[in-house]
């Protein structure tokens, strides 16, 4: 045979084999689809059966903020596996959410019926979460263990007399100072007053290094609160209907705060971008580009990882007319959409009990329990600075609009001030006007609370109720 004809033979072979498979009749197609579909359905059924825990067991979804999962060998994971071993019928699914996102995420999720069972929430959000019906009222369950916790954090986690979360750890904002850089310029200790802060900061600003780190935007506004209180000012008026931080004490504090970067130039320029996350705020201190910063204990663990050899101290904040700092902390709550609230409560109670104090220590956090404070500070001498000023700590205002006021009205005014778009005085006036607008257009249920001077808890009048139906215009 010639080559041509062999090719021809091959082709016809191919053709004949093709003919066997060729016509996909509709019946065949449907049959194949049905078989595949049945196989898939069967596979899915068995798959879901195997992922569900054995009958009689409970699954709890726990949303925790990301600092608790993003360090190496997180103590929380060990604790959870310990809990699951002690309680065989419980399975805990951990979900890590960045603290910047936790508030919006949990409100949106619970509102959509998709929330977790247990969540870690900032004590500053309690009023908002209660108004949004995100957290379950646990007053009954909490009553038996209430006395084991510090009263300040307990009250911060309550709203209208009902308890919405269990205090987990408590913190306040203190002055972190770089001991090595202080030694190099011959300063023995951290500043204790505003004027000492200025002279110390100026001395430390040299050779491309800066004396004092600050925040922009929301971080800047938040860290200004201690200055406001130190000057003798208050955030809200006694009736809670307007803001009071625009008064003479507030103006003094705002102008002093703005003078540090604008007049004394003791702040690293990168502070202009340190408004979005906390990481951008404490990085210059970790890199020893800034000698001082004010922040809470949430900086300690990242600093340990970023620069373990950093020689620094933690001191109470400098004072003016009086000493003050902003008190905060995180709490654990059960959501209103949880299907197993009693199992969720059991887990929270275990997590915040005395034998589990080692968990928080692993994150350099101070438990909000009264009975472990002594042992905790024994393990963490660095934390003495926080303890010293704990008595002067004030919580942020306990109103639902607080987050909006802080992160929009005050943050924008601060951003405009530090960029010299407005003078400090104008900036503060803008903040006051915007904040009052937010307060007046309350979009939540009104209630009757009056600001209590010593704790800074805020309450609002019934006039809000009439306006509440009108839909907030926060522009």
């Amino acid at each position: 045979m010639t080559e041509e004809s062999t090719e021809y033979c091959r082709d016809s072979e191919a053709e004949s084999s093709l003919r066997v498979f060729a016509p996909i009749s509709r019946r065949n197609f449907l049959k194949q689809t049905a078989i595949t579909g049945a196989a898939m359905a069967g596979g899915l059924a068995t798959a879901s059966c195997s992922s569900r825990p054995s009958s009689g067991s409970t699954t709890l979804n726990f949303w925790v903020i990301s600092p608790f999962t993003t360090i190496s060998n997180p103590p929380l994971l060990k604790a959870i596996s310990q809990y699951q071993q002690e309680n065989r019928h419980v399975k805990i699914v951990l979900n890590s959410v960045s603290a910047d996102n936790m508030l919006d995420k949990i409100i949106a999720a619970v509102r959509a019926g998709q929330g977790p069972d247990v969540a870690s929430v900032d004590s500053a959000w309690i009023a908002e979460l209660a108004a949004a019906k995100v957290l379950k009222d646990i007053s009954g369950e909490f009553a038996s263990v209430k006395s084991e916790f510090f009263p300040g954090p307990v009250e911060a986690a309550a709203h209208h007399g009902a308890q919405y979360a269990v205090p987990w750890y408590t913190n306040n904002v203190a002055l972190f100072w770089n001991k090595r850089m202080f030694r190099e310029v011959g300063i023995s200790g951290p500043p204790g007053t505003w004027s000492e802060l200025v002279t110390t900061g100026n001395k430390l600003t040299r050779n491309g290094k800066y004396g004092f780190m600050m925040g922009s935007g929301g971080n800047g506004a938040f860290l200004w609160l201690p200055f406001l209180w130190q000057a003798g000012g208050n955030v809200l008026s006694p009736d809670g209907k307007t803001v009071a931080f625009g008064g003479p004490a507030g103006l003094k504090a705002w102008e002093f705060y703005a003078s540090l970067p604008l007049n004394y130039h003791m702040v690293p320029p990168s502070y202009l971008a340190a408004g979005v996350t906390w990481e951008s705020y404490f990085t210059p201190f970790i890199n020893e580009q800034a000698a001082m910063m004010t922040i809470g204990d949430w900086a300690i663990a990242p600093m340990k990882q970023g620069n373990p050899s950093l020689d620094y101290g933690i001191a109470p904040l400098p004072s003016d007319v009086q000493r003050a700092t902003v008190m905060g902390g995180y709490t654990l709550g059960v959501t209103t959409t949880s299907h197993q609230p009693s199992a969720a409560w059991d887990f929270i109670q275990w997590l915040t009990a005395k034998p589990q104090e080692w968990i928080l220590e692993g994150y350099s956090r101070i438990p909000a329990r009264q009975d472990v404070a002594g042992t905790t500070f024994g393990h963490m001498p660095l934390e003495q600075g926080f303890l010293e000023q704990a008595g002067y700590g004030r919580p942020q205002p306990n109103i639902p609009q607080w987050y909006t006021i802080l992160s929009t009205s005050m943050a924008n005014a601060w951003d405009a001030t530090i960029r010299r778009v407005v003078s400090p005085e104008q900036g503060l006036k803008q903040a006051v006007a915007a904040a009052n607008k937010v307060l007046a257009n309350a979009v939540t249920i009104a209630d009757t609370w009056v600001e209590s001077g010593s704790l800074g808890l805020a309450r609002m009048g019934t006039a809000q109720e009439k306006k509440a139906g009108k839909g907030g215009n926060v522009w």
């Binding site: 922009s216 320029p269 215009n473």
Partner: protein, 326 residues
């Protein structure tokens, strides 16, 4: 003759054949028509489930957003009341809306223009089938393949004045004497985020334009060379006009992705500083999920939707008209 069937136009050729003596009457034409129709129906049947699902997943939230924009619904309040056009009037009379719209337009125009330029340029440079070009094309595709969250985070670190690589290089090259706070200054924040977005999105334009370039028959270019057309003339007079539809597709896709680019802006500046990088999309998110005002957030998204629809329709109509004219 066979059965007396009238030979009419309706029955076409087959019927005429039936008029021929001895021919068997075949009704093949109607049978074929039935077969084609059944095939078409079968095709529709296969597509309908996907269409229904897509319609539900895309359509229902859109309708929901329209309804929401007419209420004063809040994420943390109780109950929502119908307020009609109040949200829209408040929106259109607020100065903030117009300045953010202006920023959105600048953001979109700058991004689209730059991405088209860079993407088309890369496509023209790397269009040959040599191995070098193939490798370079794969490398050029990497920015698009990187997850947008990773890209935004890495660029944010690069822009850091103290520890970022950009300021470090610029200082070492003595191009600047002080570190520039790219994401913190009002004058540099938007250009900085645009740069990241152009880096990320140009490969997509490159891929689309490459596909378009491959549809140009080489004979046309050869004829132009013979006629004495220079490289630039060939590019502007021949290649670009021939891939006009492709460029239109690339443009509309880039516009759509850019207007909806949440990650780049949110992760780098969150719309700051002082709204200098705020676009309608991120602003809507803030209003809805940080100020909990869902009604107004929905109004913003409805306005955005409307604007995009108008742009898309006008764009394609213009294109179609130009295509018919040429």
């Amino acid at each position: 003759m066979g059965r007396g069937v009238p030979v009419g136009k309706k029955h076409g050729i087959r019927r005429a054949a039936a008029a021929v003596p001895g021919a068997r009457r075949v009704s093949a034409r109607p049978r074929r028509a039935r077969f084609v129709r059944r095939q078409r129906l079968f095709g529709y049947g296969l597509v309908i489930p996907a269409t229904v699902v897509l319609g539900a997943v895309l359509g229902a939230p859109t309708v929901d957003a329209f309804i929401l924009s007419l209420t004063n619904s809040s994420l943390i309040g109780t109950g929502s009341r119908f307020v009609g056009p109040d949200n829209f009037t408040a929106l259109l009379t607020s100065g903030e809306f117009w300045s953010i719209t202006k920023t959105t337009v600048i953001w979109t125009a700058a991004n689209t223009g730059a991405q088209l330029l860079v993407g088309t340029g890369m496509a023209l440079l790397l269009k040959s089938s040599s191995r070098v070009d193939k490798v370079l094309r794969s490398i050029a595709l990497l920015p698009w393949a990187v997850p947008s969250i990773v890209a935004a985070a890495v660029w944010r670190f690069m822009y850091d004045p103290a520890s970022g690589v950009i300021d470090h290089l610029l200082l070492s090259a003595h191009l600047i004497h002080q570190p520039v706070v790219w994401l913190g200054e009002i004058s540099t924040a938007l250009p900085a985020v645009i740069l990241e977005s152009v880096w990320k999105g140009s490969p997509l334009v490159m891929i689309i334009v490459l596909a378009g370039l491959q549809t140009i028959p080489p004979e046309i270019e050869e004829a132009a060379i013979i006629d004495g057309a220079g490289g630039f003339q060939r590019l502007v007079r021949i290649k670009l006009p021939l891939i006009r539809t492709t460029l239109a597709l690339a443009t509309i896709l880039t516009v759509a992705y850019t207007v909806n680019n949440f990650n780049a802006i949110w992760l780098m500046t969150q719309g700051g500083p002082l709204q200098s990088t705020q676009i309608l999309f991120t602003w809507g998110y803030q209003i809805g999920f940080q100020q909990f005002n869902l009604g107004q957030a929905a109004a913003i998204s409805v306005v955005l939707f409307g604007a995009l629809m108008i742009i898309a329709v006008v764009y394609f109509l213009t294109l179609e008209r130009k295509g018919r004219e040429s």
